[in-house]
Amino acid sequence: MTDTMLPEPTTRSAGAPARQGSVFVALLRSPVGLVGLLMLATCLLATVLGPMLYPVDPMEIAGRPLLPPGAPDAPPLGTDEVGRDLLAGLLNGGRVTLLVGVAAAALSTFIGVVIGGLAGYLGGWIDSALMRFTEFFQVLPILLFAMVLVTLFQPSVGMLSFAIGIVAWPGTARITRAEFMRIRTLDYVRAARAIGIPSLRIMVRLVLPNALPPIIVISTLIVGSAMLFESGLSFLGLGAPGTVSWGTMLGDNRDKLAIAWWTVTLPGAAIFLAVLSISLIGDGLNDALNPKRRKR
């Protein structure tokens, strides 16, 4: 189980990207980012269009159990222990994972930016208090905490997203804080304060847009993290009931590893590729937004 907290901010923003468009363009130019985007696009296409093009119900029995891929009268990628179509499972299972990944990352980004921003900009005792709070969440073993939450409160896609999002924010908070602290001392912020613009507006309109680059990078990586997380929880059987996710497939078929390797290897490969594509995009974003620190 991984938690992507970048080391210290390896991205020091060289200034806000002019528009969203230019970020995207820069990302396309970075080879790593390009590969990542392509992979992600493939994943998304497979997840969204796949079920339409291959309209097999992943929950339905499609054949004898444990048929290897390529066996006669077996579905393209074989069947699992109950006889369900593996390919259908793969095509449908990504949805939950991606959804939870994005939702959890969104939640954790929101929390992280708010806490980190307030701490970095306001400083003083607010900073200390918020940092203590952050430290507390950093100390909690994330998976265990999520497991506790899911046990106590009923599991569902929303609950999963919430449970993950509520523990994944410390990294974002620290980076946001560092950026806000840095930008706060810059002249244009000082000027704004001198004119008397209220702090909240300065923070939102002036500091935040310029602090975005490293925040964007880490949020992207948290999507990947959250996906791994969700897969982990599903693997343990704690996923949302009634849905199929790659992690669930892996977990259910774990004991058949010796005789039906495809039921374990393929879902895992799907998770791996999806997370990899997100990581590559994150890397590409890092390169794009941060020309000074080229990953050498």
């Binding site: 189980m1 991984t2 938690d3 992507t4 907290m5 080391p7 210290e8 390896t10 203590r132 430290e135 507390f136 950093q138 100390v139 909690l140 073993p141 994330i142 998976l143 265990l144 905490f145 497991m147 506790v148 939450l149 899911v150 046990t151 106590l152 409160f153 009923q154 990947g224 791994l228 897969s231 982990g232 693997f235 343990l236 059987g237 704690l238 992690g247 892996l250 977990g251 774990r254 590893l257 010796a258 390797w261 374990v264 290897t265 895992g268 490969a269 998770i271 791996f272 997370v275 990899l276 997100i278 990581s279 590559l280 890397d283 990953k295 050498r296």
Partner: protein, 325 residues
Amino acid sequence: MLLAGLRRLANAVVLIVAVVLLNFLLIHLAPGDPAVVLAGEAGGTSPEALEAIRHAYGLDRPFMVQLLNYLGQVLQGDLGHSYYFDASVTSLIWQRLGPTLLLSGSAMLFALVLGTTLGVSAARRPNGAYGSGITVLSVVGFAMPAFWLGSLLVLLFGLRLGIFPTAGMESVIPPTGFFAQMVDVGQHLVLPTISLGLVYLALYSRTAKASMIDVLGSDYIRTARAKGAGPSTVTFKHAFRNALMPVVTVAGLQTGALLSGAVLVEIVFNWPGLGRLALDSILRRDTPVLLGILVVSSVVVIVANLLTDLAYRLIDPRIRTGVAR
């Protein structure tokens, strides 16, 4: 330095208390009757049983009293009672803590030592085949789900090639003699350690490489070279300790994640640690055990953070002597 150390210690204690409080809150925030929560599935739902639990946990008393009660209990080492296992939570956890620490520790060590070595050596030629290879490894290793990797390793090395054992911490019939037993455990330790540690290996090697490249570009390295120091002197005597700092930082931050990952890997490998216990308690809705594990693992992380802090002080004299000019 002593004062700073005491302050860190006090901070740690505060954190532990906070975790315990969180536990307490969770029990009460969960939907339903706290007594039912504490009883779990096995505790029975008969009114008498629930009444007994209420009394034992003091659930009929005012909130603050309960809180302090709970706090006191935990700090004395009483983490509650598991109805499923019919044993005290503390003893259950204590039995499994060792193997989990062994696995986590090995994985951390593996990732740190190998990762730092790879990263540092890659920094000398960052764009060569070796350097780029390390970068690729880091990116790939990062995205790999530990439980998938574990399964793959089991498949490849355990089942197909038969080199390493695939389950458990010891052979079913453990060999006699201390040394032979160590070797046995060691063999069982290999695959789980790699599964758990690979992600962190990727992360640390990347961090070490970036940090080393940074350090190698700094002024004092130039001074060292101007003095006539050769490449090995520069790398090991001058650069290494300075480059180590970010790696230690990252390692410290990842302790919580490492412990979480251990849970998953333990289940894949049937390792007799806290992971299995946690899963079982979830399935049985044995909440006290789960909460107990949460507390204990948080404490482990807090202790690990203290150790990281200590490591900082040893490595960087600027922190040791306090106020830097």
